[in-house]
Amino acid sequence: MNTTELPLRPDVAAFVARVRECLADLSEEDRLELTEGLEADLTDQVAEHDGGVLGDPEAYARELRTAAGFEPVARRRTRLRADVSLAERVEDLTRRWEELIAHRRVAPVWHLLVALRPAWWVVRAWAAAVVVARLVPGWYPYGLTWLPGVPVGVGLALLAACIVGSALVGMGRLWPGGTSSVLARTTLLLLNVAAVVAVPVINGQLDRLSWDRYSQGYNEAQWGGNEQGLLNRGQQVCNIAAYDAEGQPLEGVQLFDQAGRPLDVRCYDQQATKVPWVLGDVTRWNVFPLGERDRPARNATRRADLSDAAFPTPDRATTPEVTNPLVPEEVEPVKEPTGRKGRAKDGAERDGKGDEKGDGVSRR
């Protein structure tokens, strides 16, 4: 048994210290088990070989770990151990972080991310603005799509204020930015994490909201009928009363749009309340006026009964004297005075006149 005692050499001490660092992920017991007596052994060795036997401490630690049945290299995550102070741990993490972002492959990505920081400030400001908007009493169903809950003006102002605040914090001019106190850093971290979590949540809610609006609009459109038919000032046109240049009501006027499509009117319950014109066995809804019934006729038998049907007289319809430079002045003093209300069956005769004049109502 060799019990010669040698003083500890500083190079051995440093070597062992470095080896211990490489075992930092092991439990204190394991580490002690592996390195207790290592100084003495190495000191012996160095004394015997007159120095030069201490190699690379990391390779040494790797060999030691492998032989002892541990993983050759410490895992990334160091286990939390009681003997390492919080400050040391933070320092260690900081050092690792700096090593990571200085890495050849990571560095360009990191630089890009740093350059994109202002974009993040805007995003988190938006998240904050939405949160504030939700807190506004009296939820407002319509607003900006991406900032619901408040009127547009308020929303924009709110967003602007949040962006300014977020940017000031980001630039370190406003608490909790700019200081390195634990409270401020923690607050900032929590706020950022909250924003990261909030963005997808908000996004999901906005999606749902816009879907709600869409389906609401869709339902409203459905309620109004499958097809809009003809609109006048936003209201559906159910019938048309046409007058000629003399102010006489016309019957059998056929209307077409600029593309030659029949100007069909469509209204709720049209089949039952209106009497269409007929071309052979095809009903035509672009010939005016349409006869109107007092009571809806909802089956074929009742529709055949035209006793309660008549052409309508629109209320308050006036036909002022209008001129058009395209229409030559025509002297036609003698005009059979027909009463405006006299809806006689002389439509064909009037049609003829209307055709000659070619004014007002377009005809084919």
């Binding site: 003495a40 030691l64 032989a67």
Partner: protein, 117 residues
Amino acid sequence: MDQTQLLKGVLDLAVLAVVRGEDGYGYDIVRRLRDGGLAEVGDASVYGTLRRLYAAGALTSYVVPSESGPHRKYYGITPIGRDQLKRQRDDWHAFSTTLDGLLDGPASRTTSQGVHA
């Protein structure tokens, strides 16, 4: 063949063999191994193996304090370690016999014993 590769499987056995008769501290054991012919054995491998054998109960350990220098840690064999040594020695003999048979020539292959792990 590289001795370190061969040693991987049998270092436990070699370490147990050199502490069988007398307790020893880390470097002492390394020296015994090297003196015994394992010139290339790495000291870290030996220290790691000592720790693993200790954790398995095959070795016991105690620290001898020193006044002027670092403490020394001694290892001694336990009954578990002796059992392990015996078992592994038998395995080794069977294995080496098999391998010798293979190396001696194809004729001996039919008569050689299989390895019983």
